[in-house]
Amino acid sequence: MALQDKYKALIDAATAAGVANLAVREQDNVLYIDGDAPSGAVKDQLWAVYDQIDPNFTSGDLVLNVNAKADPGSKVRVATQETALNIRKGPGTDQPVVGKAQKDEIITLISKASDQWASVRTDDGTEGYAYMQYLEPVA
């Protein structure tokens, strides 16, 4: 319960921002928070709150997995920091790059291959796999 108090501001912010399927539980002195954020902006906001409570995330007492979930068949925005997003032949960074999607480009999410990888298609027809962390649902 102590960890829920420490991260209360984060849990409250997640509830207020409309995070769906929010699950908060403690196990072996680590707090696990999972849920589906309505947008990438909400996810970023929650991480900012986490950084405030635990500067630089050094305490090792929270695993935060609140992701902006996009549905298969929907449009997603490429949310890289600066560079273009690699689109690969298969789900893994050891797979050859078959194309690139620019930062902020809108592409189509075809399906999820795993928790980390999704198969995608760009508007110019390039198909392959991209890292999910860099894909944000388009509101």
Binding site: A23, V30, Y32, V63, N65
Partner: protein, 159 residues
């Protein structure tokens, strides 16, 4: 004199009307709703009233709160009986924690954009070492936690 009598009669009628009718279901519902709203434990409950019989539905956080609903509602004037349909939601599923071999595989992808970062896995605990820019840290942590480890020991030097 006649006017005063008329007024008295009118005032008496106004006071007499509700008492002879008894408390309406709508009034009971209003009072029950107010009672529920006044307690944080009951704030997500709703009440339906029919002929003074109150049906409570919605969710409460635990069994103790559920047991406490009935006596609290019965305190409201006009309530004849209470059907307690409040439910306690099941606890959330336990967290997903991936085995070390899956973590090792997915971590390779998670850290590949951060050349100065190393990740080691032991019994589900991911230890991060090396250097990182502050601006890159949240995204790296999002990707590392996205692999579903048991715990993340962040020993990175933030520049």
């Amino acid at each position: 004199m006649k006017r005063i009598l008329t007024m008295i009669a009118f005032v008496a009628l106004v006071f007499a009307l509700p008492s002879c009718k008894g408390k309406s279901d709508a009034d009971i519902k209003k009072d029950v709703d107010a009672k529920l709203a006044s307690s944080a434990d009951f704030s997500s409950l709703t009440a339906d009233v029919k002929d003074g019989a109150v049906t409570i539905s919605g969710t409460v956080k635990d069994d103790a709160a559920k047991t406490a609903v009935e006596p609290a509602v019965k305190e409201v004037k006009g309530v004849k009986s209470v059907v307690n349909n409040a439910t306690v939601p099941p606890p959330p599923p336990p967290p997903t924690i991936n085995p070390d071999d899956i973590l090792n595989n997915t971590l390779k992808d998670a850290i590949k954009d951060n050349a100065g970062v190393k990740a080691e896995v032991k019994d589900g605990v991911v230890t991060l070492t090396g250097d990182i820019k502050k601006a890159d840290l949240p995204v790296l942590m999002q990707k590392v936690m996205g692999t579903h480890p048991k715990k993340v020991e962040n020993k990175l030097t933030v520049k």
